[in-house]
């Protein structure tokens, strides 16, 4: 069965390692924070100027001067640091963040990602997304495999304006975990009970399927 949003987050969380500095985008990526494995400590970076994002505040501790990149009120974890936007993106652009998780509208087999604009329809601006995809070595994209009309978002070539070129290597959808290399998606894991055929059918891109595609452990 296709993964829920929470299950996608759980699968991503398995990639967290003790001591990782992590930037989580808005949406499903944010949920990853709820599934940090036991014995693993991570520090969350928020690109508006916070390393060490804590949980949400209480009504008593809420502070308008302390928000995350999604503009939600948050707290600072023990050992946190505040800094300017220039310093924050020096961290990101300089490759100091160990793992970045973000959403996308489309990803293609060259590693291109489109996530910030639908011409004529939706203009939110790219915010920090272009810097995040350009700066991180280790990026996981979480997204739905196809849109609500069943049209694949795992493509040979992105149709929307790009957020970054040739920068994405791993994608987790409700159906599969895939790696991008040598100009194709490679199926690595499938959601429990989801067949390789279903994944193949919903994937417009070239998909390399190994003999054995294990089920995810979520």
């Amino acid at each position: 069965m296709a993964l829920s949003r929470e299950q996608i987050a759980m699968r991503v969380a398995q990639e967290l390692e003790d001591g990782f500095y992590v930037n989580l985008g808005i949406g499903i990526p944010t949920l990853v924070a709820n599934y940090v494995p036991k014995g693993v400590e991570v520090m969350m970076q928020s690109e508006n100027g916070l390393l060490g994002m804590g949980e949400f505040p209480t009504e008593e501790t809420i502070d308008p001067d302390l928000i995350n990149a999604g503009k939600q009120t948050v707290t600072a974890a023990t050992g946190a640091a505040f800094f300017s936007s220039a310093e924050s993106f020096a961290m990101i652009r300089g490759g100091h963040v160990d793992l970045t998780v973000l959403g996308a509208f489309e990803v293609d087999q060259e590693g291109n990602i489109a996530s910030w604009m639908i011409p004529g329809k939706l203009v939110k601006g790219m915010g920090g997304a272009m810097d995040l995809v350009a700066g991180a070595e280790n990026i996981i994209v979480t997204m739905t495999h196809a849109n609500k009309h069943g049209k694949s978002k795992i493509l040979k070539k992105c149709t929307l304006p790009l957020t970054g070129a040739q920068c994405i290597k791993r994608v987790i959808t409700e159906l599969a975990l895939m790696e991008i290399k040598d100009g194709a998606f490679h199926l690595v894991e499938r959601a429990p009970g989801v067949s390789v055929e279903e994944i193949q059918e919903k994937t417009e891109a070239d998909l390399v399927i190994p003999d054995n595609v294990p089920e995810m452990n979520v």
Binding site: N48, G49, T58, D65, L66, F82, S85, G120, G125
Partner: protein
């Protein structure tokens, strides 16, 4: 009076010399850390044709949203439109020129402007619309875009505390774009919550040295509106 006393006592004085068609930087991320009183004063002045440099453009009717209401901005340089309907409308209609700039590139362009760096290379935006019309270059196997720096006639920033000499400290994530913008304005005006005497701020922990700041005003009120009020379920 000492040449280092930067304190002004009215918003009029704080924005003396502010004119139509100027370039103005405004600190803040969303509504966090914005110079509310200075924004209101520009709104009152009604200056038009502004080039505004700010990560966001406020929300409908608050923050830079007020300038949008009066169509005071002709060109907006920022990274995120967000939930500002009027902004999106002015953008899509072409009524306002909008130069969407990646957030980190925007921060670095402003820092560069203040630091006398006219241009720098960054990988951000390579292969995207952002790189269109810009020089690109492969350096050691990676592709980069050349980004020119930004400066402004006025930089309007919000700080937590200032001393009378213009040394500033910021509070938590209300820092964001404010320190860089402070360095990049020909005239930098800091709206602050508290003004103290020189020597009261620890010289080891000044975020913005006074050399960058021309005027300091104590804000008369800060609404500090919250965009996403999220609290823990207890």
């Amino acid at each position: 009076m000492s040449g280092f006393n930067k304190v002004v006592n009215s918003y009029e004085e704080a924005l003396e010399g502010f004119k139509d068609d100027m370039t103005v930087m405004v600190g803040g991320f969303g509504l966090c850390g914005i110079p509310e009183g200075l924004i209101e004063q520009v709104h009152q002045l009604g200056a038009k044709g502004l080039t505004a440099i700010s990560n966001n453009a406020g929300v409908d009717g608050f923050g830079l949203g007020k300038w949008l209401d009066k169509r005071q901005i002709s060109t907006m340089i920022g990274s995120y439109v967000g939930e500002n309907e009027l902004f999106e409308k002015l953008l899509l209609s072409g009524e306002m020129e909008v130069i969407l700039t990646p957030q980190g590139t925007l921060a670095e362009k402003i820092r560069a402007g203040g630091a006398g760096i006219p241009a720098f290379f960054t990988a951000t935006g390579f292969g995207t619309q952002v790189a269109e019309g810009k020089e690109t270059r492969n350096i050691d196997g990676r592709d980069y875009v050349l980004e020119p720096s930004l400066t402004a006639d006025f930089a309007l920033v919000k700080a937590w505390k200032a001393d009378t000499m213009g040394n500033l400290i910021f509070n938590k994530t209300a820092m964001n774009f404010n320190p860089m913008m402070a360095t990049a304005g020909k005239i930098t005006v800091a709206e602050v919550e508290e003004i103290v005497e020189p020597g009261e701020l620890d010289p080891n922990f000044i975020h913005t040295p006074g050399i960058y700041v021309q005027r300091v005003i104590k804000g008369d009120k800060f609404e500090k509106r919250i965009e996403q009020r999220t609290v823990k379920q207890s």
